[in-house]
Symmetry: C2
Subunit: 279 residues, 2 copies
């Protein structure tokens, strides 16, 4: 039996890179990680073979991936668009930046899609992180004990509609609706910052819902919407009643832990089927 191709993980911030690495190890595959300097949390990568390399040192990155026999790649964990001054690309970096060309000035979606294409031209197969993480729970409907009531379902539908209309504008992946009022729309600030401000615009009565959904045409292999226990805690602090997301298009970090937190805090976690998100 042939050994499956070694998977290289290009690791940005947060806990997800290590979770993908752990999932691979459990399947008997030893991953190799490249942590992006200034973004990756090296303490989390420490248990796995890894190197920390500057984002723009493309030559060093490609060499390291090839030296460790990586044929497949996963891009996972947030990376902030670096400043031009701090970029300092190596020779290979300059060549690849030139190849990215106009995409460098595009929105996040355009840039990430171009980076995925470029890595595939370099001979790697780029895969989505969700292919490796726990996927036993991508079921539709309520995941925990709490179920959304009729008002919450109406708010979920409204948020899905808003995100669908906004999708092609490449703005953000999240939106909070409470009793028909749109409390907040996510742009570059991210979901956590959006949830933080929902507390102060909260209306009386039954709390709102958070819906996260990929943007239309979003390169899911590079930037999939993610939720975790922290999302659920922040949603609870903002007075929300639950979180909904398309189950097959969302990275749920620590499914069991998420369900436990949601049950403990009395929030629903609601997986949307593809029927409810296509408009």
């Amino acid at each position: 039996m042939s050994q499956p191709a070694r998977v290289g993980i290009l690791a940005g911030g947060g806990p997800l890179p290590a979770q993908v690495a752990e999932a691979l190890r459990r399947k008997g595959q030893e991953p190799f990680l490249i942590g992006f300097e200034g973004f990756a949390d090296e303490s989390l990568l420490a248990p796995y073979p890894h190197e920390i390399i500057r984002l723009a040192a493309a030559g060093t990155i490609l060499q390291a991936l090839r030296r460790h026999g990586c044929a497949e790649l996963v891009l996972i964990g947030p990376v902030k668009r670096p400043s031009w001054r701090s970029l300092r690309p190596d020779t290979e970096g300059v060549r690849l930046l030139a190849k990215l060309g106009r995409a460098l000035f595009a929105g996040d979606d355009g840039l990430l899609a171009a980076i995925v294409r470029l890595l595939e031209e370099e001979g790697f197969r780029v895969r989505g992180a969700h292919e490796f993480l726990d996927t036993t729970s991508n079921r539709c409907g309520p995941w925990g004990r709490v179920k959304p009531d009729r008002q919450a379902m109406a708010d979920i539908r409204q948020a899905v509609h808003i995100l669908s209309v906004m999708g092609p504008l490449d703005i953000g992946q999240g939106c909070v609706v409470q009793k028909g009022l749109t409390l907040a729309v996510e742009a570059l600030e991210g979901t956590d910052a959006m949830l933080l401000r929902c507390g102060s615009v909260r209306q009386e009565g039954a709390g709102g819902v958070l819906v996260k959904m990929p943007k239309t045409g979003q390169e899911l292999r590079a930037d999939m919407p993610a939720i975790g226990p922290e999302t659920i805690r922040k949603a609870a602090e903002a007075g929300l009643r639950g979180v909904a997301f398309p189950s097959r298009l969302t990275l749920v970090m620590g499914v069991d832990h998420c369900i436990k937190e949601a049950d403990r805090l009395g929030l629903f976690l609601y997986g949307l089927g593809s029927d409810s998100i296509s408009e």
Copy 2:
């Protein structure tokens, strides 16, 4: 010559109610103001005949307006949707709330439009605040010394497109774009809070632009987008290069002061013509 109808001002927060009152007095018309308790700043209303009344005391409000001979009304200054518990409507209030019916559960646009209709059914003519304020400056193009460059014009067009697509969703009136990236979209938090978070998501290089625009179908007589010197200062603090708005559909508070602040801070103020905002 017949005396023009007395104008009643239903005053929420901020400086605009007093500015409308002053504009009327300059034209030789003595206004009558009702300041909503908990929202209106009584120190600003003090120079004019006024009463402070609870929002839900509709009977007292209508009586006061009629007693003072008001035939026309202006609704101006922000009012937060009160909680049901704090509302305590009087008898007339209960009747009018029942009449508002479903609109009470609509978004802001739906509710304000319903309130305007209701006041007109009560026999008042509801007028827009912009009809009374300084309108000599609603010209298109740059208002001050600074002109938007080509990148800024592209960002303005993108923000206008975003707000046009989002308009029918009844979300917000503002959006910040920097070099093709949407930094922030305004929902219930308001423009100031949106500008505050733009600092932390700001990208390298030429700064972004703020565009404010009414939502599609928005009842301009009750809720017109407004900008003032404070908007310009907050935009400057967020690293923006300018502010654009449809000149005929925006309340600019203190035009001269706004232009002076923009010039001092090196920001552009750009009036959009109706050709550039219809899509």
